[in-house]
């Protein structure tokens, strides 16, 4: 199907492509102990502009599925716009039971900082971005990276807490795992993330809830929400704002799972979609405000 769509795109003259393709490095191991589970894909701008703002993508998939390739289109787009992009895999349940999953994400952030010169990364301008389960982990990276209980013992982190990123974009992911467990139709699915129920492991649910790590001085947050706000996204926005932080929440009426890259049943621009123009305009505006844009985007280009 993807080949058919691609050929269809190429047949339509208005989509005549002409772009500077990013430089891509696939399956870069950031923690070789865990094989394919701890690899990342890197998309680098094809320029010599020095240190670039960087986006670290964390994919979704209910903590048990998904892959770093979900963000290939968005990764290439941002790389053509002057960002270094790293899309990471992390351990999935059962191997990725909390806190293994968040430790992997923190390790990948430490890896990017350790290899900043090699990849043209500005270590002070790294934004962490995730959707669905990845949004939950992105928010945790933003708010709880310095908690010693979550410190990764991977080589680049060395068991030490990791400094928080410059900003966080969290799309359609739960922020309060207590509420998420209580509201879940599939409680067993949530319990697999923590290895037990809320009643059995209340401290783990609290430690794994970004909402409970909100504090003054948190990185700027952009929260994206589906048509149905679930998992405490609105409460998260209120908590961040009440603590004096820079936070925005965009909810898009009629949208499905915002930023999901697989399906997009758009209907005359006025129907339901997961990858909405509203979300990407808000992302661009947020990136400009928080880490700046590296260069003016080249015209044209396909994904």
């Amino acid at each position: 199907m993807q080949v058919l769509v691609h050929r269809l795109c190429l047949m339509i003259p208005v989509f005549a492509l002409g772009c500077v393709a990013p430089i891509e490095h696939h399956d870069v191991p950031y923690d070789p102990r865990f094989g394919d589970a701890n690899k990342m894909d890197l998309y680098l701008p094809a320029d010599d502009a020095g240190a670039h703002p960087t986006v670290l993508f964390i994919h979704g998939g209910s903590w048990s599925g998904g892959d770093k390739t979900h963000f290939v289109n968005a990764g290439r787009r941002l790389a053509r716009s002057g960002f270094v992009v790293a899309s990471v895999n992390y351990r999935l349940v059962p191997d990725g039971v909390f806190p293994n999953n968040i430790e992997d994400c923190l390790c990948s952030l430490a890896y990017l900082r350790a290899h900043a010169v090699e990849y043209g990364i500005d270590p002070g301008r790294i934004v962490v971005m995730g959707y669905s389960a990845g949004a939950h982990l992105a928010s945790l990276v933003g708010l709880a990276s310095e908690r010693s209980e979550l410190a990764s013992d991977c080589e680049v982190a060395g068991g030490q807490p990791v400094a928080p990123p410059a900003a966080v974009i969290s799309a359609s992911g739960p922020q309060d795992m207590r509420t998420f467990w209580r509201d879940a139709g599939d409680k067993a699915g949530v319990e697999k993330i923590f290895g037990g129920s809320l009643d059995e492991l209340p401290d783990a649910y609290d430690l794994g809830s970004p909402r409970f790590h909100v504090r003054p001085g948190a990185p700027p947050f952009l929260l994206l929400a589906d048509a149905i706000d679930f998992g405490g996204i609105e409460d998260m926005r209120s908590a961040l704002a009440d603590a004096g932080n820079d936070v925005r929440r965009l909810q898009v009426a009629g949208s499905l799972h915002i930023l999901e890259q697989h399906d997009d049943p758009g209907i005359y621009e006025a129907g339901m979609a997961s990858e909405t123009p509203e979300a990407w305009i808000a992302i661009e505006d947020f990136l400009v405000r928080t880490v700046g844009m590296a260069v003016t985007a080249p015209d044209g280009g396909g994904s």
Partner: protein
């Protein structure tokens, strides 16, 4: 280049719309339908409206002009999206224009503007869509039409601030149109 490409697509839309609105209806047989006005009820879910006007060109060919609006952003943002487009339908049954199975070519352009409640203007983007559809129009009691469709095509998103690179991607579309046939 960006504006040229946008212009090319808009010209296509306008050309088909002009054909729709300016052409005489196909030579009418007794009881042959003359036009269909329709809307997409699913657009309401996204706080939008969508309207189309379709006329036959021949006994196997028809063309439709489309317009839409939505205000979908909530929370700390507000947005407006305006859309214009056109469709060409090839009706697959002999002498059965405006009803039954069809193949369609869809082109449309949408402009979305987003505002931040605190900072004001946040940005804008233009989306260009070209698609091939397959659908079936059912006619109930001679006038009420229900038209489900499936489409496959491409969408190009152009950032109007010029800071995000233009992106083109494949898309699938599910349509459900309800209309009135005269």
């Amino acid at each position: 280049m960006r504006s040229l490409r946008s212009m090319t697509s808009l010209v296509k839309c306008l050309a088909i719309a002009a054909v729709v609105l300016g052409s005489p209806a196909a030579r009418a047989e007794p009881d042959a339908p003359t036009d269909v006005i329709a809307t997409q009820p699913l657009a309401l879910v996204a706080r939008g409206v969508s309207v189309s006007y379709e006329r036959p060109l021949t006994d196997r060919l028809s063309a439709a002009a489309l317009g839409g609006f939505r205000a979908a952003a909530l929370g700390d943002y507000g947005s407006t999206t305006g859309t214009a487009g056109a469709e060409l339908h090839v009706w697959l049954r002999r002498s059965s224009v405006l009803r039954g199975p069809y193949l369609g070519l869809h082109v449309s352009a949408g402009y979305t503007r987003l505002t931040d409640d605190v900072m004001g203007y946040a940005g804008a983007s233009t989306g260009l869509t070209q698609r091939i559809d397959i659908g079936w129009r059912f006619v109930v009691h001679r006038h009420l039409t229900i038209t489900p469709s499936l489409g496959l095509g491409c969408r190009e998103d152009i950032d109007m601030r010029g800071q995000l690179a233009t992106t083109t991607r494949g898309m699938a579309a599910i349509g459900l149109e309800v209309g009135w046939m005269r």
